[in-house]
């Protein structure tokens, strides 16, 4: 059994790790819902939210007034949560010296000065933070930027199903200037400025969906790469290489029980849509990097595929291509490493460099991107509250050049990300939470 499948089980959290409110002796009666003061208060305390709490709107509840209903507006006895942003995806604009990171924990996009660094254990103050009800951001995954147009692109994964575009100067509770419906389980984003197109990776349907860069609303995709010949398996990171006109994809390798219907289909929504392929049974294929021509459409085989035991690929979450030095960087979350491959490598190829080890500070990386102009490599850690900056050619167990913290050093990272279930282990008196 591949080790990566076991890593799918996340979290085994002890009680009371972040208790912030004791149980109330008295309980207010059941009443109409009002603003979630706690969520706002917590985020405002951490400087995550500057907006005033919106006015509460009454909700017409079902005819419960005559019913005898136990419980009610019960305060929790204990709560575990991470009050700080978590880092997911990272994008660097070397022209304007800005760095953007997505934050699925607080539903936000934060920007920093590219040269910012924590001097010690303190957090770095972001330049901007886009978050709040007007943003529409939900379980935000990828972020990328168009430095020429000074636009920020983000996409929601699992809940949300939208790509949103904000101007560079957006801050606080800002509305997107464009919002595009994308398939359910979208993850990665990459812009090809030459073709004026944007590629979106989609996990479960195992597809790469290409839109016009200025697509908006319910605009349909220009084309899809999809089908059993593509070798796509639970794709995550995607990079649209404008110089070589190629789409480079990082695949986890998971294949669900139905074969993908080949070719372009209607974008699938949760609970319906899309076309259903034959029932073939699920598989855990080896993780891979697959490469397609920029104009590829339908059920096409990759022009190159990096896959096999020498690659060390394990939960490849994000991918970046340095077209000047012909290298591919992979955020390899499964073993907390960054793996660098030759851009034209194929087959069971070993990486040309690996950044890994205790000194690197790499912990569950979700994001990686080259900053070619400044000869640097950025890594976004999901496993703690840091983004790391390495020399582009860094290798082995080396310390980063700079660390950007978004929480004081040592702050625990709970790791919840759109959690959907919980179980009680009565033997160990523990709670189990899958992400």
């Amino acid at each position: 059994m591949p080790r990566r499948v076991v890593l799918a089980l996340f979290g085994c959290v002890l009680f009371g790790a972040l208790e912030w409110r004791p149980a109330h002796p008295g309980r207010p009666p059941l009443r109409s819902l009002v603003a979630d003061q706690r969520l706002f208060a917590l985020e405002r305390d951490n400087g995550c939210l500057d907006e005033a709490t919106p006015a509460a709107a009454p909700q017409a509840w079902p005819d419960w007034a005559a019913a005898h209903i136990a419980g009610g507006d019960v305060p929790p006895a204990r709560v575990i949560a991470d009050p700080y942003p978590t880092l997911h995806s990272v994008a660097v604009d070397a022209v304007n010296d800005r760095v953007f990171v997505s934050d699925p924990n607080r539903h936000a996009v934060w920007s920093y000065d590219r040269r910012a660094a924590s001097k010690g254990s303190e957090a770095v103050t972001p330049l901007t933070g886009i978050r709040g009800p007007a943003t529409g951001m939900m379980f935000i995954a990828a972020v990328t930027v168009d430095p020429a147009a000074r636009e920020i692109y983000t996409v929601d994964n699992d809940i949300g199903d939208r790509m949103m575009v904000f101007p560079y100067d957006a801050d606080g509770n800002a509305k997107p200037i464009r919002a595009l419906s994308v398939p359910h389980q979208a993850w990665g984003l990459s812009i090809n400025p030459v073709r004026k197109e944007i590629a979106v990776s989609v996990e479960g349907p195992r597809e790469i969906v290409v839109y016009a860069q200025n697509a908006n609303g319910s605009d349909p995709p220009l084309r899809m790469i999809r089908g059993p010949r593509t070798g796509l398996g639970d794709p995550h990171g995607v990079f649209f290489d404008s110089k070589n006109n190629e789409i480079v994809v990082a695949n986890h390798g998971n294949q669900n029980g139905r074969e993908t219907a080949p070719g372009s289909v209607a974008p699938a929504r949760r609970g319906g849509g899309g076309e259903r392929g034959a029932l073939v049974g699920g598989r855990f294929d080896e993780p891979s990097i697959t490469v397609y021509p920029g104009e590829a459409t339908g059920d096409v085989a990759p022009v190159r595929r990096i896959q096999g035991s020498k690659t060390g690929l394990n939960w490849p979450m994000a991918i970046s291509v340095d077209v000047g030095h012909d290298e591919i960087a992979v955020a390899n979350s499964g073993d907390s490493s960054i793996r660098i491959f030759g851009r034209t490598a194929s087959g069971d190829a070993a990486p040309v460099r690996v950044i890994k080890g205790a000194r690197t500070g790499i912990h569950g990386p979700m994001g990686v991107t080259f900053d070619v102009k400044n000869d640097e490599l950025w890594v976004a850690n999901y496993g703690d509250h840091t983004a790391l900056v390495f020399a582009r050619t860094a290798a082995g167990d080396v310390a980063p050049k700079r660390i950007v913290r978004n929480a004081p050093a040592g702050s625990p990272t709970v790791g919840f990300g759109n959690p959907g279930a919980v179980a009680y282990d009565s033997k160990r008196d523990e709670l189990l939470v899958p992400n």
Binding site: M1, V6, A8, L9, F10, C12, H24, L30, V34, A35, D36, R38, L39, A56, W61, P62, W64, H68, A70, G71, G72, P76, A77, R78, V79, I80, A81, P104, P133, M138, A179, L180, S181, G204, N216, G217, S218, N254, G257, R258, R269, R270, G271, L279, G281, G282, R283, F284, N418, P419, G420, A421, V422, A423, Y424, D425, K427, R428, L432, P434
Partner: protein, 264 residues
Amino acid sequence: MHGIFYDPKHDEIVVPVALGGAVLTLPGGADGGAPPLRVLQGSATGLVQPDTLYVDVAHDEMIVDSGDDSVLVFARTATGNAPPLRKLGGPKTQIRNIYGMSVDSVHNLIVIANRVDLGGRESSDGILIFNRTDSGDVAPRAVIAGPRTGIIKIRQVVVDEERGQIFATIKNNFENYEASAERPSPWNPDKTGFIGVWSINDNGNVPPRGVIKGPATGLVWPAGVAINPKDHEVYTIDSVSNALFMFRTPELFKKPSPVNDGAR
């Protein structure tokens, strides 16, 4: 992963892997890269994209969402490409998108959290209750659904077998929408979710017997629910605030009255 089960008798953790069409069983104390004890996967299993599951320890069976609008029942220790013992699905069952499942081995019932999206915030979600050994395309013996239930976007369900109660998480919002539609927002105070409690004998468009609901709860979109009857505690994980809440609610661990509605 949107499901998980802890089997206290055999000290095992069982999880569905939707993206791999599989069910993994791990040791109860598994940590890090511990390998699974068993992997159920393959074309004979009927597993497509399983989101949730439950282990019926009393009858040594495993109840799994196929990810294809049906319930598959396997031997608890099924492994490899093993076919299900029973399959429950079809138009009479009303089973559509399964978001949670539980077994009441005392009353010999299967409880399904079922979603039927009708577009926007509209849905016909509910709790479907079947006889434990039902198979094929059979009607549920009870359906808890309708406007008086307050069920909009149901998620996980768990049964307190001793008292005959169903605990369900209700997100009370919608997740998918067109770009032009109103945006579901984690900050929208009008549409936060709750935990509802029904009797295992309830049927129809009936209010919950108990709730955890309101601003003091801190809940936004509660997704998962687990109970600890011994300590009278209810646990829920919230998919928007990314927080784990623990409530001590003795009043929710009382045997419900036999009255179905009206007097409540």
